[in-house]
């Protein structure tokens, strides 16, 4: 089918690989890291920036002569399709099979979306291939309760450099209740795995915090018109609106809620901390929206400033928060390969998986280590608010979202 064909994405990559090719080619040894993000559709820009974060780590390692004697190559795959208009779990499953069947692939980075992650994880488990996701936060994928479904071979293969919606949704509910003092809220989601999971977790904790939940409705991301549902919400007069979902429905929600619910407190999760949302909706519509990321606020780390400059110089654009978690994920993989090679064992998928499992690495976001399920042990959710900074481009979340603090943990 037309829409399923791979885009021309591999062209620029080919030149990247060629440019770094000669140094390690002398030794002739190389390994491949798979990268799978939705480069087609509503989240394309954020996907590109995550890919760039991971590529930066890999290219910097190759420039220093490779890792453990290996040059690192990249297998780039598109999890999005034009038919879906955004990430497409069926395509993600196909890509997982491609990575598993390529014997040179020892680890992977991705996916962006939990819906893709649910489709990929069982296939990766069967192939003993570990992946590190810089952004997918649905807790079910790594939850031991669903191990039979998502990791049939038992060992963790789905690692994350972000925490999960088991914290992101509820902690934001605490933020609504305790910091913003919202008394009532209307919840919307975009019918995707991520959006439904996070908004349900939010809703439950909001009730526990004594916030009145006036309703919970689903948006169809392919639909253009949300005036009907927003008019319905307006009649209930909630103090706040919470949206669980990604950019495709998010952009339209921001636009239309700006007209219909100008006064409500509005917020979402990491799906809204997004270049695509900023660019598609623009100011003033997006002004005042709250968003979270399931990772610590990295600007406190003195290494981050120079890193952002390196990123901007190389790719000609500003990174997002999840470019950093993607970079961190790539560092973890490179470190794992280095340790396996140093131990003298063959660099197999299983050995790399074991090394990722036992990682304890200082990265931009701080020390990264994983629990037995693959979840990151540091469980911080940071809250941001969209406030325009005209000195920076519109699609630059790091500067257009102002850090508000850590969302309170439920204790």
């Amino acid at each position: 089918m037309l829409s399923r064909r791979k885009l021309l994405l591999e062209l620029p990559l080919a030149s990247v690989v060629a440019a770094t090719a000669f140094r390690a080619d002398a030794a002739g040894k190389s390994l491949t890291v798979g990268i799978a993000f939705p480069f087609t559709g509503a989240d394309a820009e954020d996907a590109e920036k995550m890919k760039d974060g991971a590529l930066l780590a890999i290219e910097e390692a190759n420039a220093k002569g490779g890792v453990g004697g290996y040059r690192i190559k990249v297998l780039l795959l598109d999890n999005g399709t034009a038919t879906a208009g955004q990430y497409d779990p069926a395509q993600a499953a196909t890509n997982a099979r491609k990575m598993v069947s390529d014997r040179s692939v020892v680890a992977a980075i991705g996916p962006q979306m939990s819906g893709s992650g649910k489709a990929m994880s069982p296939i990766l488990s069967e192939g003993d291939l570990a992946t590190i996701t810089p952004s997918s936060t649905n807790p079910d994928i790594t939850d031991p309760k669903f191990a039979a479904e998502f990791r049939p071979k038992g060992k963790a293969v789905y690692f994350r450099t972000v925490t999960t919606d088991a914290f992101q949704g509820p902690n934001m509910a605490n933020y609504y209740a305790r910091t913003l003092k919202a008394k009532s809220v209307y919840v919307l989601d975009d019918s995707g795995a991520y959006g439904v999971g996070m908004s349900n977790a939010f809703e439950q904790q909001a009730r526990n915090d004594g916030v009145k939940v006036l309703g919970h409705d689903q948006l169809n991301p392919k639909e253009a018109d949300y005036t009907t549902v927003l008019t319905k919400v307006k009649a209930l007069n909630p103090e706040a609106l919470y949206y669980g979902g990604v950019a495709e429905a998010g952009v339209k929600l921001v636009k239309q809620s700006y007209d219909i619910l100008p006064k409500a407190i509005k917020g979402g999760g990491d799906g809204m901390y997004s270049s695509d949302v900023l660019k598609g909706a623009g100011f003033p519509a997006v002004a005042g929206w709250y968003a979270t990321i399931a990772a610590p606020y990295v600007m406190d780390n003195p290494a981050t400033g120079p890193w952002i400059k390196r990123f901007a110089a190389k790719f000609g654009k500003e990174p997002t928060g999840y470019s950093i978690t993607a970079y961190d994920g790539a560092l973890v993989i490179l470190d794992a390969i280095r340790r396996v090679a140093a131990s003298g064992k063959p660099v197999s998928r299983d050995a790399v998986r074991e090394a990722i499992q036992t990682a304890h690495l200082k990265t931009l976001q701080g020390a990264v280590s994983f629990d037995q399920n693959g979840d990151i042990e540091n469980r911080v959710v940071s809250v941001f608010k969209a406030i325009q900074d005209k000195k920076y481009p519109l699609d630059d979340p790091i500067h257009q979202f102002k850090y508000m603090g850590v969302a309170p943990q439920t204790s």
């Binding site: 037309l2 087609t40 559709g41 509503a42 394309a44 820009e45 999005g80 034009a82 208009g85 019918s191 309703g215 409705d217 689903q218 948006l219 169809n220 392919k222 639909e223 253009a224 018109d225 005036t227 009907t228 549902v229 008019t231 319905k232 307006k234 009649a235 209930l236 007069n237 950019a247 495709e248 952009v251 339209k252 636009k255 239309q256 007209d259 695509d276 660019k279 598609g280 909706a281 623009g282 100011f283 003033p284 519509a285």
Partner: protein, 314 residues
């Protein structure tokens, strides 16, 4: 669940206003399906994406004036001038695109029996979709909107300038079309061709010319709908053709495909069903409600509300 707590009447009126704005767009789009079907008995699926392409053309036309986002507001004569220019450019470009599609991909298949032409329109639709995807990128675009943010309170509902404008433009265009079809020579030729193309040709009607006119008019109206879509939602993307096109096609069938009045009424009905159904039942059931009503109507009026029984072509 119907949850109406306060000022029920205001909420319902608001949903009627929303529904009429949607309906105006669907009607304009439905007319394109109906004009082409009436004459060629062809369902033109390329129409979905002619609409989508024209919303991009409209965006580019507005950007020619240095407009971007919703920051700059125009009033009075400059506003009227900019809108007139944007509508003119968009409608002419969309019309030309429709004629081009007919000339290049459909005319060579005119004498081929069966579904070849219809499948071709699906292919053309995919081509337009992918051209915009590759050319303009996948992300949602922030559509420039120079309209001042005027709003009035009407019995507890909010009526905005852009809604009034959309209704006004839709009414003007549809009235003009109705007059064109019923009063002009070419309009008469169109009606004659719709009734019986062979006989019309024998009476000296230039059937090819009539077909070109139908494609031009239908696509130009889709162009207007595309620009209206952008001005109403302040966004566009390569994806918008499918949902809006399907609803509009449903509107054309509901009204009676081939009937100009039917397309107009069908569009408004679908718009109202969408907004009131969402309010009174649940938004996630919108498609189920729309298509259930369509099926019920077709059971009792197989040729639609305003359709006439199709004459046999043999």
């Amino acid at each position: 669940m119907p949850i109406l707590e306060m000022n029920d009447a205001g909420v319902l009126l608001q949903q009627v206003i929303n529904g009429l704005s949607l309906g105006a767009m669907y009607s304009l789009l439905a007319l394109g399906f109906t004009l082409v079907y009436g004459i060629l008995e062809l369902i033109n699926f390329a129409h979905f994406n002619v609409f989508m392409v024209s919303s991009f053309v409209g965006m580019w036309a507005l950007e020619l004036f240095g407009l971007s986002g919703q920051g700059q507001v125009l009033t009075g004569l400059p506003l009227a001038g900019v809108l007139f220019f944007a509508f003119l450019v968009t409608m002419v470009a969309a019309g030309a695109l429709g004629v081009f599609i007919e000339r290049v991909s459909l005319r060579p298949l005119r004498e081929v029996r069966g579904t070849a032409a219809m499948i071709t329109t699906i292919g053309v639709s995919f081509i337009l979709f992918n051209i915009i995807l590759l050319g303009a990128g996948a992300s949602a675009k922030n559509f420039p909107n120079p309209l001042p943010n005027l709003r009035w309170n009407v019995f507890g509902a909010v009526l905005e300038l852009r809604e009034v404008l959309i209704w006004g433009i839709a009414i003007v265009l549809m009235t003009a079309l109705q007059l064109f079809v019923s009063r002009t020579r070419l309009g008469k030729a169109m009606r004659a061709t719709a009734q019986d193309a062979e006989a019309a040709r024998m009476m000296g009607v230039d059937v090819d010319g009539v077909i070109v006119a139908a494609f031009f008019l239908g696509s130009a109206l889709a162009g207007a709908a595309g620009l209206i879509f952008g001005l109403y939602y302040n966004f566009t993307s390569f994806l918008i053709g499918y949902t809006a096109g399907l609803r509009a096609f449903t509107a054309a069938v509901l009204g009676g495909i081939g009937s100009v009045t039917g397309a107009m009424v069908g569009g408004v009905l679908i718009g109202l069903i969408e907004s009131l159904g969402g309010q009174l039942i649940a938004v996630r059931w919108t498609d189920v409600i729309i298509f259930s009503i369509l099926i019920i109507v077709l059971v009792f009026f197989p040729s639609g509300l305003f359709g006439r029984a199709t004459p046999s072509r043999s």
